[in-house]
Symmetry: C2
Subunit: 410 residues, 2 copies
DNA sequence: CTGAAAGCGCTAACAG
DNA sequence: CTGTTAGCGCTTTCAG
């Protein structure tokens, strides 16, 4: 046709072949004579032909689109995760489709089920599961399409999963803080869980808490509820930072009688109040002061993620407490901004590129076995036909990165 | 059919109506008897029917998907922009599809042209144009689908555009710094452009430079190449910060003969070196020192964006220069992390929610007029048929936000 | 208010 | 190696 976008038929006519041959030629399928292929490609180029993926998808049932579901875009962790996944998917000739749930489990469930795109458009899905209810019947939810869970921490995953080195990583972080001389270390990331119950930890932050606890006990240091604060994002971190600062202030008051008020956040004078450096061997804990704030001379904070760590540093600064001079802080994740904040942030850097590779490998394997859109109709290109691959599982690596926030003051 | 996913026909059969009636009922079209609609909805629910968007798109030529193209995900600005656009699009019942170009103009052009999804799948596109070559034949590039350019700053846009308050905003930032008592203010964001040539500024950063320059001249302060540094991201910002710090150090040496070396970044002792506060009326500039570094006692830095501002603060800290004690720093954009960094960042906060509203309004208007997929075949639901809407244009608002990085030290 | 017919553009399956 | 046939699931069009 002369008007509108050129179709495959137009290309075929132009090249003097059938639509089918044109299709095969364009897709680089074997079994097309070179001269024929050349004719077709020339025709396509001349007409500026662009395949109609909509039609292609309808017929073939494949879209080559991988659905990525994360909590939000505007967070240092998720923006990095998204970028890593996106890059890996693109580099394999697939297309990423990214959706955010704004931390709503309902939205996540919707994204996997009711959303019509999910229902029939995507070849596979990658879900960062934190915050999703435990043990949802996930394999059912998404209609049997390939699904990879990130950091879901289920004991017996029913679907493919890539996990973070939660326990080992946080243990390493805490050990490092102890090696740096810290003795009163706050933990930020999860509400307090008694040591005994830590065995049942089923989510990322609880596992990190378990790792931190283990390192404390190994070192003969106490683990109790006065040192544990909730905190998964910067706001929580600020709140935790304030609470930690108040305990430090209480300890200072108890110690030497010198008092000082908190600075004001937006117009404050952070940086002018000068306290004595209290790091080192002071271990005076839990001295109840008159205003009920436990007096603890914290000298370190072990955070469950970098996002919260930034908040902790901010919250401490609101009280004129400096990192690393007064308190050392370590995060977890290794987000990009940790390299250029002031102080730069020591962290457990996880390998998100590796995570992306694992996750996409898992999906691609299932796609190639034909486990797309519910039917495991093996297209005959695989060895053991009909059987569905059992869920696989991987854990990514980590690296302790030392930056200013835990630097020894010389 | 009993096996496979239920189709519209299955629903129609179950409800005892024709597929067409089922379709109309499900889409909430007027002219379906309530009892009939109820029957259809019940049938759909019973069968767990999910529309096949692929088929729907093929037939109707509409996808309700809006394509968003940005430079990258893992940057404080783009992650916030993406989130704002995504939210606005979702709230209107449309679906965002986000793509990153990694700052490659080729990738951006590809996203708009060769990419088969762009060709036929998307109903409209939103492109953050910074870095794209000037005056590309954009309207042609995307085949006539609705396209909105963000911050493209073309004098005569050929397509819809939403711009940032670049010149006014940066002018306000600089005026504020001057009002705070700064007299030697560095500008970070764009290579130096002589005052006369600033009239031709055609991109966001050049316009911001123009605004900063105007404020300087208004205040009777000089504007020359010793005070202007390139910098659009944190790395550039760090480099600029180092250069600025070196000039400050040179000035200090020239002033009082006291020297100090730079701290080391990863293991350094930032925060221990204590210099005199040099803010205030010192205006000794351009004193050439022996090692060729101009001696300038900078007391303020006006940055073209927050991302670079973080880098500047970091770069200054590498030399033991503190913000805001020694130098005040202001950014531009109002990224989320500026609220929780230490120091928190003063900035020109732009209204990205407003931007998202404007952009989506423009797209939706064109979609509803039928300007989708090249054909402006007016579906009769609009007033003036056939005519194509002329390009529209909007500029978003801003707000000066004072935080710690420009706080007066009392 | 409801239904029948036709076909969007492509590709799986098979036939030559 | 190439072509023919049929139809994916929906919606536009037009007739009841």
């Amino acid at each position: 046709m002369t008007s509108g976008k050129p179709t495959l038929r137009d290309v075929a006519n132009q090249a003097g072949v059938s639509p089918m041959t044109a299709s095969n030629a364009l897709h680089g399928k074997a079994g097309v004579k070179e001269s024929t292929r050349a004719k077709v490609l020339a025709a396509a180029k001349k007409l500026d032909y662009r395949i109609n993926l909509t039609a292609s998808m309808l017929k073939s049932g494949r879209s080559n689109i991988i659905h990525i579901i994360v909590n939000e875009f505007d967070s240092p962790f998720y923006s990095k995760l998204t970028q890593a996944l996106s890059h890996e998917i693109t580099s394999r000739g697939l297309t990423p489709f990214i959706e955010q749930t704004q931390y709503s489990p309902d939205a996540a469930e919707h994204a996997l089920t009711s959303n019509p795109f999910s229902g029939q458009l995507f070849d596979g899905e990658i879900l960062h599961a934190t915050g999703l209810g435990t043990n949802l019947p996930l394999a059912k939810l998404n209609g049997g399409r390939p699904l990879v869970l990130l950091d879901a921490c289920e004991e017996t995953p029913t679907v493919d999963a890539v996990n973070f080195p939660n326990e080992e990583g946080e243990r390493a972080a805490m050990q490092y803080l102890i090696a740096q001389g810290c003795r009163n270390i706050a933990i930020v990331g999860h509400t307090f869980v008694p040591r005994a119950e830590l065995a049942h930890a089923q989510n990322a932050f609880a596992l990190r808490l378990r790792g931190a606890c283990a390192a404390l006990l190994d070192a003969g240091l106490p683990y109790d509820e006065t040192m544990v604060f909730e905190g998964g994002c910067s706001d929580d971190g600020i709140t935790a930072g304030h609470a930690i600062a108040e305990r430090i202030m209480a300890a200072r008051r108890a110690d030497c009688g010198a008092g000082a008020g908190a600075g004001d956040r937006e117009t404050g004078t952070a940086g002018t109040a000068d306290f004595n450096n209290v790091s080192g061997e002071i271990t005076g804990k839990s001295i109840e002061t008159t205003d009920k704030i436990p007096a603890i001379a914290f000298d370190g904070v072990c955070c469950a993620n970098d996002f919260a760590a930034f908040g902790v540093i901010r919250g401490l600064a609101d009280y004129g407490i400096h990192v690393p001079q007064d308190v050392k802080v370590i995060g977890f994740d290794g987000v990009t901004s940790g390299t250029y904040t002031t102080p730069s942030l020591s962290t457990i850097q996880v390998d998100l590129d590796q995570l992306a590779k694992f996750a996409v490998d898992m999906i691609v394997e299932r796609i190639e076995r034909g486990e797309v859109n519910g039917n495991s109709s093996n297209a005959g290109n695989s060895n053991d036909a009909g059987t569905v691959l059992p869920p696989s599982r991987a854990t990514i690596g980590y690296q302790l990165v030392e930056r200013e926030s835990t630097t020894a003051i010389i």
